[in-house]
Symmetry: C2
Subunit: 520 residues, 2 copies
């Protein structure tokens, strides 16, 4: 995984020198073409799909034996994707795909200039049937369910490819490659593989490392011989989206040890460097994704992503995405809010409301305390936005789970937190998270703020990276094979760590010196 190996593209267009037929050179058309490609690539192993063999005599004659080939390499063998006329052919393109359970993104890239041309983001079309992984797995087990789910997905992706291609004036056959990163279930649904056993003990996927396929096998609206690289998974609960994140972070090329976390319904955590990688996944609670709190929402327009509370006046200032009237709060906004509540003394170290501080902003509804965060006048919904005690309790469990998972895995590899050189945070959650707030509530370790690096959509970025570089493409499988997966045992030791982490920031305040300093 070191950088010393020279990088090169694995999908490319090459100009060909093809001799014209004569009585002295009666080599067959296909063999003549292969000879031209071998000469250009200096390789012996060239393969042409049989579906293309039939077309070659007429194509070569149409092009007057002056042609370019688009080819891809897989396991030291080059495969022909398209044959275009020499000098008249346009650039060729490929797609990086983030196959999220809720949101999907296509990134269109020009393989000739290596530029990103455009992106399209859209909701998973399967969500009309079910919007969480377990529901989708359940639907797949029904009659025709699997093919229906796959059909919805492929149809939608094809529509989006078609729209992108039309917008940029790109012919279907000029889209010559795709890399897809997604969790294990979404990857299975994309391929039409039954995810039935993924959620059933002992949690066995159909496949960990799909071979490179060609688009015609899946029915994608691009060159029918375009390679489709599906990111491998480590298991049912550690998918290709994480491998893409590791690839994009570059942590497996660094001498120092890094953390990478991806927070969703589960929290997936990776620790390691260029020599080793260990991963685990655990339920960090949906509070962090905005799924539980009464006003919790996915990040989007009008969603609160920043909160500050003046510790003297308790005046609360909020910032929303796109600066419109607030309608809810996302996971990172919630962390900001709870951190500010703690720092202003409105909640105590157990995360309980301090009535003496909150006073009339605290309301009782059916015996449950709610804090009015945004009044009905200021709210974008016409109703006050409130945070209940159970909402805070839920976040406390989530943050404690996250810190416990981080502690457990660093204990397992015997690397003290302070030796972590980089702490990568993937996804939308990472984009909006304020590390100092997450530290303040004791969710993440008290490391220098510049240790924390937000990766953005690292699934998409990793998938796109793998399209352009053979080394990155191969690194995916090296990463996958190098990962040691740590099965989290919820044993007494874990529960002890968890209980200790259910305080703000922690029962052992010495672990959070910067928070301690701010409080004193």
């Amino acid at each position: 995984m070191r950088k010393n190996k020279k990088d090169r593209p694995w999908i490319k267009k090459i100009g060909l020198e093809i001799t014209t037929p004569s009585l002295k050179d009666n080599t067959a058309d296909v063999d003549r073409l292969i000879k031209g490609i071998k000469k250009e690539l200096s390789t012996e192993d060239i393969r042409i799909e049989f579906s293309m063999v039939r077309q070659i005599p007429s194509l070569l004659r149409e092009y007057n034996y002056r042609a370019e080939a688009v080819v891809f390499e897989d396991r030291n063998c080059w495969h022909v994707i398209e044959i275009f006329p020499f000098e008249k052919s346009s650039d060729v393109y490929a797609l990086g795909v983030d196959l999220g359970t809720s949101t999907m993104v296509l990134r269109l890239m020009n393989l000739t200039t290596l530029e990103t041309i455009d992106e399209a983001s859209f909701r998973n079309p399967q969500n009309k049937l079910g919007d969480d992984i377990l529901t989708l797995i359940h639907i797949a087990a029904q009659e025709d369910g699997l093919s229906k789910l796959q059909g919805l997905l492929i149809q939608k992706i094809n529509e989006e490819i078609g729209a992108l291609a039309k917008k940029h004036g790109i012919g279907k056959n000029s889209v010559v490659g795709m890399c897809v990163a997604g969790n294990t279930t979404m990857t299975h649904l994309f391929l039409g593989l039954d995810p039935y056993w993924i959620c059933r003990e002992p949690y066995i996927p159909v496949i960990n490392k799909p071979a490179i396929m060609i688009s015609g096998e899946i029915g994608l609206a691009m060159s029918p011989r375009a390679p489709i690289l599906i990111f491998p998974n480590v298991g049912s609960y550690f998918g290709g989206d994480l491998i893409a994140g590791i690839l994009y972070s570059g942590m497996m090329q660094q001498k120092d040890v890094s953390f990478l976390v991806d927070v969703g319904t589960n929290a997936e955590v990776v620790i390691g460097n260029r020599d080793w990688l260990m991963a685990c996944a655990g339920a960090a609670g949906p509070a962090l994704e905005g799924g539980v709190a009464g006003m919790g929402m996915m990040a989007g327009p009008g969603v609160i992503d920043r909160v500050t509370i003046d510790s003297e006046t308790l005046e609360t200032k909020i910032r929303t995405i796109e600066n419109i009237s607030p309608v809810g709060i996302c996971g990172s906004g919630l962390i900001d809010l709870v951190a500010q509540l703690f720092l202003s003394g409105m909640i105590d170290l157990r995360g309980k409301y301090v009535e003496a501080r909150c006073r009339d902003r605290l309301q009782d509804s059916g015996g449950i305390k709610h804090l009015i965060v945004v009044s009905s006048e200021d709210s974008g919904t016409g109703k006050p936005l409130t945070l209940s005690q159970p909402d805070i309790d839920s976040l406390m469990r989530s943050k404690a789970a996250m810190y416990t998972i981080l502690t457990t895995i660093s204990n397992t590899v015997n690397i003290p937190m302070k030796e972590i050189s980089r702490f990568y945070i993937a996804g939308t959650f990472g984009s909006y998270l304020q590390p100092h707030s997450a530290i303040a509530i004791g969710m993440i370790p008290d490391l220098p703020l510049d240790t924390y690096v937000s990766l953005g959509n690292s699934s998409l970025k990793g998938a796109s990276k793998a399209l352009l570089s053979a080394r990155a493409r191969d690194d995916i499988f090296r990463i996958r094979d190098r990962i040691t997966y740590l099965e989290l045992n919820v044993n007494q030791e874990f529960m002890n760590l968890f209980s200790a982490a259910k305080f703000i920031p922690h029962t052992d305040i010495s672990l959070f010196p910067s928070v301690k300093a701010g409080l004193s």
Copy 2:
């Protein structure tokens, strides 16, 4: 091409040790299967067709993770054909195919015991549309012509496979491989490739060396992932049937130099040994195939294959195939007849009837002399079987062409005829040919009779050999690449040789000492 490389099968069934899934080993089903295969084959490169990936979880569970795999090797990579339950699976089978323009033969072999189980011989179903190569090429160029020709062929082959399988109680999925040898045009029609340019200058096939395909790509009624090996061709007029003949003869493993001839509408000739091979093809005339002489026929029941004429009494004895009343004569019978006519003085050294010897057996019909070979009473057709002067003239041209081609190619490589250690004769023609008669008329060189070896259906035998042995399979491509193809120039030198060979046995009788001795 030496025999020192250890041989091994390239299609085989292997027992697998597959671990069962557990929480401690959550490897995906497909990767688990691949792991089992890798262990058994000691190889890294295993591929499973995507069509099979979907079935693996249910198959492995049905078999309780105790399975056998049928696999084939291609370019150092092993492909999975079928997965069967361990210990309950039956033997596996494969088919050698001779794809003749007129007659086709399937040979069913047991890959477990290596035994030949059965053969099926049938007429090319395309012959209902056209029965020679040029007509078939013409039909292929018509609308839907190519797919119609391919459809007829595949349907007929599928019927024959079905009948063989039924007869021997073999399941469709237990037929796991096929090797096909045929001339370049028939190979193209089998694959649905347009033969249009094969008969047009500069005579360019679509493909010389088809990659190994899988049966599903052609729609064959066997395991859909069974490998289909198509013998390569050297060019439009030197096809895979000849490569199969060379393979079966073993001439490319011998230190001494051999000839191989295959006589049909064209005569194809190969000369060489383990270090080099040279080939050429030329029009030897259809007389040898039984197509021209008035009573000429393909070998079959009632066809004269042997003739002796008492040189004193001129009494003519004939032998027919299956010993029934004569209805015609095949190429080798014709050679016997003309040799006997010459040795008994009924024709002279120019091949002209000697009226003084033939007397009343010679009839004149429209100024053309006919010899009554079989009277109407003895004939199976109710009419006399006769041989006309033009029939003999035609054979004289064919035999002269054959001898000239042999002389030209041996002159080109500078190997005197007497250094030829083996003279292989392929096909039905070779099976019935009496070498001493062919020598007597000067068609083939005057070598010791044990030099001549009849190969029988070497196309079928070569195809079958390649099914069972990776070395033989690889030898095919070595043979193909090693052949130097000699374009016959019909120049003055060729015409001089040809003119000299248009005598019986030759103008230079010293070339045929055994014939000279018999005459004196």
